[in-house]
């Protein structure tokens, strides 16, 4: 107890600590050399408490497991150690902190250890699967051969999962061809044409995201294969994956499209663009990165799905390039089926197939991160350079056009001396809108003195000016000049 009280007083601010005597309450505290305050939340006593708790709980667990109780097993050991550690740590912290702080420390330790446990376990899943697959993945024939001539007893140096790789890619490609256009168009529809019908579609799509993938497989199995009498094939599997992926993709696309700022689309509409031009040139490019992420994540989900493929694709050992006929396995299905064999080589191949699948997913994911990490409208360096090039070439084109017009204009003004103002004015009001052409206009100005003030007059009512057809271009033939 004495230790606890001395610790508690030590943690008080120095000014209070020195003036605790009963008679010295009114006196100013004696001046001490000022100490720099340590702002770091991490103190030596914390580290000591943590280390002490680890050591003492470890010791106690050892005592319990070897001397006191008939416990055994590494997992139970860890659990008991952890429980004792929490108790010891709480006790140690409570020696020099208040109850609030003890709870804070305990919560921090619990949250961090649980998170570390889970993140380590998740990372371990990947490491374990890749590690078990490594013996098979070391042989190149895993990637270039199928299992048509390889039995379960043959070593890993023959046979592979090429048919699974090809099947996976073909199935997901067909599914993407089916779902991406339909899904994205439907997402655009949900955003652009709100109303009762769109609400209905959105509700149904949301309900369908809950469709278990096995039920999607069962649907295709009973319609496509049992009712329509198509064989089990890659196409059937792709259809099943599509049924599963479509609602996911629509939902993700809908969420992304709703993030497009309304000011952009309104600006486009206000400039007179039609609706589909607005969607095509403003909405979709703005949402492109988000849509790409949605598609890629949907692909990652579809590529790893086993159950719809299990029901619809059939199982074969041969490489099959034709999706419309014959069984076409995919990597997850292959991993699912191969692990049933008792032979170590087949199980190794199963882990190899799962590892390749995981690598595919990681590659997709790594692709999605940089593309989807940017907000709408933010460009990569390459895109920005392309825009700059485009813009420069546009400026040059406008400048050339203006120069050509100017030449034509000057010829006309030489031809028609009596009324030079009218055509020139229209020309200038048109050219004025492009800042790159200011240079030629100013060069022109000394020739016709009166353009300056009129130029300024015309700028003001610009929004009231007539449409271009009212003033026919090339003004030389205008009827007004004849009158």
């Amino acid at each position: 107890m004495a230790a606890a009280t001395s610790h508690a007083s030590a943690s008080r601010p120095p000014g209070v600590e020195t003036g605790t005597g009963p008679g010295t309450a009114t006196e100013p505290p004696p001046v001490r050399p000022e100490q720099r305050r340590i702002l770091s939340p991490w103190r030596m006593s914390d580290a000591l408490a943590l280390g002490g708790a680890v050591l003492s709980s470890g010791g106690m667990t050892w005592l319990i497991f070897t001397q006191l109780a008939p416990f055994s097993g590494p997992l139970g050991w860890l659990v008991v150690w952890y429980a004792l550690f929490l108790g010891c740590y709480a006790l140690l912290v409570s020696m020099d902190e208040s109850g609030q702080a003890v709870r804070d420390r305990l919560a921090a330790v619990v949250v961090q250890s649980l998170a570390a446990l889970l993140l380590l376990a998740l990372a371990f899943v990947i490491v374990y699967v890749v590690g078990r697959g490594l013996p098979a993945m070391r042989h190149l024939n895993l990637y270039v051969e199928d299992l048509s001539v390889t039995g379960p007893l043959q070593p890993l140096s023959s046979g592979g999962v090429l048919h699974g790789i090809v099947g996976t890619l073909e199935e997901i490609l067909i599914a993407l061809v089916l779902t991406v256009p339909l899904g994205l168009t439907c997402a655009v529809f949900l955003c652009e044409f709100p109303g009762a019908f769109a609400r209905l579609v959105r509700t149904v799509v949301e309900a369908m995201t809950a469709l278990p993938s096995i039920v999607a497989g069962l649907f295709i199995y009973s319609t496509f294969i049992l009712v329509l009498h198509f064989p089990r094939s890659g196409l059937a599997a792709a259809l099943a994956i599509s049924v599963m992926m479509l609602p996911i993709m629509i939902r993700a696309g809908d969420v992304v499209l709703r993030l497009v700022p309304g000011s952009l689309t309104e600006a486009s509409l206000a400039l007179g663009a039609s609706r589909w031009r607005t969607v095509w040139h403003v909405t979709l490019p703005t949402a492109r990165s988000g849509l790409t992420t949605a598609v890629i994540l949907g692909t990652a989900r579809g590529i790893g799905e086993t159950s719809p493929v299990l029901l619809t694709a059939g199982y074969g050992n041969n490489l099959n390039l034709d999706p419309t006929e014959g069984p076409m396995v995919s990597l997850p299905l292959l991993a699912y089926e191969l692990r049933r064999f008792p032979e170590a080589a087949m199980i190794s191949r199963a882990f190899g197939a799962a590892s390749i699948l995981m690598i595919l997913v990681v590659v997709l994911f790594a692709g999605a991160r940089p593309i989807g990490g940017r907000g709408p409208g933010v460009l990569t360096n390459r895109q920005r350079r392309a825009r700059e090039r485009q813009s420069t070439s546009d400026a040059q084109r406008f400048a050339e056009l203006a120069r050509a017009r100017m030449r034509q204009e000057s010829q006309e003004s030489q031809e028609s001396q009596p009324q030079p103002t009218e055509p020139q004015r229209t020309e200038q009001q048109r050219t004025e809108q492009q800042p790159t052409e200011q240079q030629p206009i100013e060069q022109q100005e000394p020739e016709s003195q009166h353009t300056g003030p009129r130029h300024r007059d015309q700028r003001q009512p610009e929004w009231q000016q007539p449409e271009p057809p009212a003033n026919p271009p090339g003004g030389g033939d205008s009827p007004r000049r004849d009158t």
């Binding site: 997992l75 699967v129 009973s222 994911f365």
Partner: protein
């Protein structure tokens, strides 16, 4: 020039001073095509999705009509002899789902809190990517890990639980004496418990990323206010972050539950199917609707297939209810903004 600036009286005057100006809307050819295309795509999606749902219901009708109400109460699954029901498999599905979600709830809140509150700022993005990547790892990978690695270690844990916590009805193992030195551990294999652990590993990243997004959005002003009132970090989390993210915690957990209920391959790889209500989650033998479909679709002629459809319909209705409830909770809560999946 001048005639343009004259206001056009004929549009403003005829219907009285307050009559709304008629705005002519001319829809161009391109826009009409676009609207037609968009609407037809919406209709196509509606048709596809509707056909799936209706087909599911229609196919289930013969089995449901045959079984009647006993479909919900029978435990056996022998459609060809007419004795079948989803009592046992639905119970198994819910048991796996609830256990997995319970485990996942603890871990996903911890991971979300760690990433949003405790993790060093440098590592935050890495952890976010790691969790998102984990959500995308195929279920067959988790299944392989569960069958070949977790099973033998989880057996020890299950034995420990049944020996020392056997007085809890859930962990009881009737007919097994924990002191029996000849007792084998295989009684603990392929149980609801092990399947639930693996499914929990799968759904934790999904639930956790929903929660983390909500926790990150907890307003900085309120956080600083809590600190200014003298709260510790945990006090701040309890007073600000957790109440703010409550909707996301519930919603994310239910989203995970929906995923766990529909999970097929992992469960099918681990369990050994039985058709009776298995209260003792540690004991060998479990079942779930999707695993049943995956294991039984092959030998199904038309009537057993109809029974499978009925089971699938029940599962679909359940996951749909869970998902809708989750989305409503997430949308209504204060933290709902931006935490959609």
């Amino acid at each position: 020039m001048t005639d343009v600036q004259v206001p056009q009286p004929e549009t403003a005057s005829p219907g009285g001073p307050d009559a709304p100006r008629r705005i002519p809307v001319t829809v161009g050819f391109g826009d009409r095509v676009f609207a037609g295309l968009a609407r037809s795509s919406g209709a196509a999606v509606l048709v596809v999705m509707g056909v799936v749902g209706i087909f599911l219901a229609v196919q289930a009708i013969p089995a449901l009509r045959d079984a009647g109400f006993s479909f919900l109460t029978t435990q056996e699954w022998e459609p060809s002899s007419g004795r079948f029901g989803i009592a046992a498999i639905l119970f198994g599905t819910v048991a796996i789902g609830l256990m997995a979600t319970t485990i996942a709830l603890v871990f996903s809140v911890a991971v979300a809190l760690y990433i949003s509150e405790y993790a060093p700022a440098r590592l935050k993005r890495t952890f976010i990517s790691l969790v998102d990547l984990m959500a995308a790892v195929p279920s067959v990978v988790y299944g392989l890990w569960g069958v070949f690695f977790l099973q033998e270690y989880a057996i020890g844990l299950a034995q420990w639980l049944s020996t020392y916590l056997g007085w809890i009805p859930l962990f009881d193992m009737p007919g097994r004496d924990p002191r029996d030195p000849l007792g084998t551990l295989t009684d603990f294999k392929s149980s609801t418990f092990i399947a639930a652990i693996v499914v929990a590993m799968m759904v934790t990243p999904i639930a956790s990323s929903v929660m983390r997004e909500a926790f990150d959005q907890a307003p900085a002003g309120e956080r600083e206010g809590a600190y200014a009132l003298g709260a510790t970090k945990w006090g701040m989390i309890r007073a600000v972050v957790l109440p703010f993210g409550r909707g996301a915690i519930i919603g994310g957990t239910m989203l995970g539950l929906g995923r766990a209920l529909g999970e097929t391959i992992t469960v099918a790889m681990i369990i050994s199917p039985i058709f009776e209500i298995q209260w003792n989650v540690l004991e060998k033998g479990a079942n779930s609707v999707s695993a049943l479909i995956a294991l039984r679709y092959g030998d199904a002629t038309s009537f057993p297939l109809s029974a499978l459809f009925a089971a699938g319909l029940a599962l679909f209705l359940m996951t749909m209810a869970v998902n809708f409830a989750a989305s409503i909770i997430v949308a209504r809560s204060r933290s709902g903004a931006g935490s959609e999946v």
